[in-house]
Amino acid sequence: MNNKLARMIIRRIGQSIIVLLIVTLMVFLLMQLVPGDPIANFLGANATPEQIEHYNKLFGFDQPVMVQYWKWLIGLFHGEMGRSVALQKDISEVIFQRLGITLSIVIPAFVFAVVLGIILGITAAKNRGTAIDSVISFFANIGMSMPMFWFGLILILIFALKLHILPTSGFVSIKDGGISGYFSHLLLPMLVLAAGPLAQFTRQTRSSMLEVIRQDYVTTAKAKGLGKREITFKHQLRNALIPIITVMGVTLGGMIGGTVLVESIFVVPGLGNLMITSIKGRDFMVVEDGVLVIAIAVAICNLIVDILYGVIDPRIRND
């Protein structure tokens, strides 16, 4: 790895750590300001003042806010993320399990959206002004504006209730349900999650390709007698990739943190589902740790994007 790239990575990691600290402090303080008590939510309407006091002491909620934050921060350096009030479990155990489930939907959805989005974008750009271009662009616009919730319910109605070929909801790991069980439960949530990004990648690829198609070096490559496939993928796409990769990085980070709706519709016990339940129940520690994990994921995505710029474009690498 060249020195410039290594320095860039180290600098970015340092910046990310500062951002993460600021984000977690802001979230911690915001959760304290929002009305609601995790112990009261956990114990329910039948709680007595003694019970509430007992659990407040058990979880350290009777201590000053900044003391709680500091203890949490120190705990992180020891690999401890605290204990969930609602789940009565160590948060690290729950968060990484849920993250794994979320990623098992997000990554296939992302790959699907990228691959199909790029193919459709190239197709639309190559057939600019034709019916194909119109149709692809039309459905890309619909994909961008279609409500995820509605789309999910439609898919459930068609494929689960009418055709009975897919389950309505739930998540099954490969270990529990085998490949077929996993994929049958994955398909609908993946399609819903991928719809928006697919449309975005299609539009961005089309737009980038249209700029590149008109370039002189493409004309030169054609004149040299290079094959269409070689021109498209080795010359045109490679030059069009920079903005596409930018969108990919932003989208992936957003998908990891934004699976709440999909997990809610399809009853997927992922990180989004955990976050929304914890916010509603004011389970501060889980929210705090969840935000941290999502923020780290977004930071990693951005870092990968920056590295890929250098890989794809030698001019950036040597800059």
Binding site: N46, A47, T48, K89, A131, I132, P167, V267
Partner: protein
């Protein structure tokens, strides 16, 4: 591809046509169905407002069928129970631990506990306490104490004997967790292996039911490793936890050590947490669940309209939660500190109209702290029924002839109904600004007692006012207590209920409390206006038998008697 003559190839046209056709078809199908399946609140609310009243009549007709269905489920259903199968049940309720029972403090988690654990007594469909792990009991208000005779031949799932020592260990465990139900137990004396005397701090008529029903017995051996127990179970119940996925599901397998010979019939039970009601209903319709609890009335109404499923509703009132509107009377500067203003508020609201408009026929109006038909329900009570003219005259008497401005706080689920109530209040001059908050903020408001004006009142209406009303009326009660007045006569009556030496005297005192709070002439109206109780619609596939899910206490079922007729 462009042909030599400049025209596009047939291939291009075909590809475009197929692409467009497929996507358009799915959109058209979706649009046609979306209105009935969308869970968009605005859509369903608009539908609710315009059609609920007319549909109420249809549902009322199905109520007769419901009653017949419920009645048939109270007796053994037709056919001989079949062994085998796994019952899959889904609801929005979750549990933090299915195994360490002292930490399950709300009614929503009882269904999980009742699958793997048992208590000394339980409630039958009339609300009477009947034996379960205890076969008989005697009370001594003078000592004061309760002596239990325990059922013999019962073992925990790990083979440990259920006996007096196990009971003592469990009571002490509950006390360590500051459980209210065991607060009044001073000590447990083991008389013999199957007799235990609980000496109380003071006589309280609620202690028998609190200890009898709300303490679920864990194996003392399993209690030595609480962390493991939290994620599993070890009780005397018909099933035991095999897998616990927090917030997702709890799976149970048959307890081979179960004390009832020949039971359970099922091989296992799986309880799923499905928060989204539309998804839950879809999965039920697709046959993925055998039974569901449907808390969303609009979705429940859709299921009823398919005419394909049995719906049952718990009409016993046990464990149900009443919804009402409660004014903050503790704030001396507030108009609601005046009893006449609180009465005016009650007279201004037409709870029957609200239930008809928003309830799809699935809400039962209340005028007191009890479900109709329950032992503490005073059917002769003349309550504060809708009378806007009386409301206006009461306001004038209280010094508010032109009314006043206030706030009505609501959560998302009750927003439409409470907004309608606010409109009714406005007609008599009580002008409410509707303030919507989320559930946690609402809990905080009634925990701290600092809500402004009026807010939703949610209270368990099981027939023991000393226990359930006391949680709100006690000066140090955890909820609502800091936001209401505590008049001396009400506090004395509460104490009388708690110390009543016999059930008959207790019931008479409870009737007096209903009168004191809710009577139409001079009721204190401390708890404001009771609006309705929702009878927890349960839908099940036709082959599910014997469960009694909606017959006894709402948090229980006879899962040992349940079988699948398929």
């Amino acid at each position: 591809m462009i042909l030599p003559n400049g025209r596009k190839s047939m291939k291009n046209h075909l590809l475009s046509a197929v692409l467009a056709g497929c996507m358009a078809m799915s959109l058209l199908v979706g649009c046609g169905e979306a209105a009935t399946n969308s869970s968009d609140a605005a859509t369903s609310t608009a539908a609710a407002t315009t059609t609920a009243a007319t549909q109420a009549a249809a549902v009322a007709a199905s109520t007769v069928a419901d009653a017949a269905t419920a009645a048939s489920s109270t007796t053994d259903e037709a056919g001989t129970p079949k062994y085998g199968g796994v019952l899959k049940y889904a609801s929005h309720n979750t549990v933090s631990t299915p195994g360490y029972t002292p930490e399950c403090t709300n009614n929503a988690s009882l269904i999980f506990l009742n699958t793997a654990y048992e208590s000394l007594t339980y409630y039958d469909e009339t609300g009477a306490i009947v034996p379960r792990l205890a076969t008989e009991w005697t009370t001594d208000p003078d000592e004061p104490s309760i002596t239990w005779t325990l059922r013999q031949g019962v073992k925990f799932a790990d083979g440990t004997d259920f006996n007096a020592d196990a009971v003592k260990t469990n009571i002490e465990e509950y006390q360590k967790c500051e459980r209210n139900e065991t607060k009044n137990v001073k000590s447990c004396e083991v008389v013999d292996d199957y007799t235990i005397k609980m000496v109380l701090n003071s006589w309280n008529s609620s202690t028998l039911e609190s200890v009898g029903f709300f303490v679920y017995y864990m194996s003392p051996k399993a209690l030595q490793d609480v962390d493991t127990l939290r994620n599993s179970s070890c009780g005397t119940g018909p099933f035991q936890v095999t897998e616990f996925n927090s917030g997702v599901s709890v799976k149970y397998a048959k307890n081979e050590n179960y004390w009832q010979d020949g039971k359970p019939y099922l091989d296992g039970v799986e309880i799923y947490v499905v928060d989204e009601p539309t998804t839950r209903a879809s999965a039920f319709e697709a046959g993925e669940y055998d039974m569901i609890l449907m808390n969303n009335l609009a979705v429940a109404n859709d299921l009823i309209n398919t005419k394909q499923y049995e719906m049952e509703r718990n009409k016993s009132g046990q464990g149900l939660v009443m919804t009402g509107l409660i004014p903050n009377s503790a704030d001396e500067a507030s108009p609601f500190a005046n009893a006449k203003v609180r009465e005016a508020m009650c007279y201004a609201i037409d709870s029957q109209s609200l239930c008809d408009a928003f309830g799809y026929g699935m809400l039962q109006t209340l005028n007191q702290w009890a479900a109709p038909g329950s032992v503490t329900y005073d059917k002769d009570l003349k309550a504060m029924d809708y009378d806007p003219e009386k409301a206006k005259s009461l306001l004038a008497e209280a010094g508010y002839p032109d009314g006043f401005d206030t706030t009505l706080t609501t959560d998302a689920g009750n927003k439409d109904m409470f907004t309608a109530a606010a409109n009714m209040l406005a007609e008599v001059g009580i002008n409410c600004t509707v303030n919507q908050v989320d559930e946690s903020a609402q809990v905080s408001l009634y925990q701290n007692g600092n809500w402004e004006g009026i807010m939703g009142h949610f209270a368990a209406i099981s027939p023991d006012l000393g226990l359930y009303m006391g949680r709100h009326l006690d000066k140090d009660g955890a909820f609502y207590a800091k936001g209401i007045q505590h008049p001396d006569d009400a506090m004395q009556l509460l104490e009388d209920i708690r110390t009543a030496p016999t059930d008959d005297e207790k019931i008479q005192d409870e009737y007096k409390m209903q009168e004191l709070m809710y009577n139409g002439e001079d009721g204190l109206a401390i708890f404001g206006k009771p609006l309705f109780v929702q009878f927890e619609p349960i839908f099940k596939q036709s082959y599910v038998k014997g469960d009694r899910r909606s017959v006894d206490h709402v948090g229980t079922w006879s899962i040992a008697d349940c079988w699948l007729d398929k």
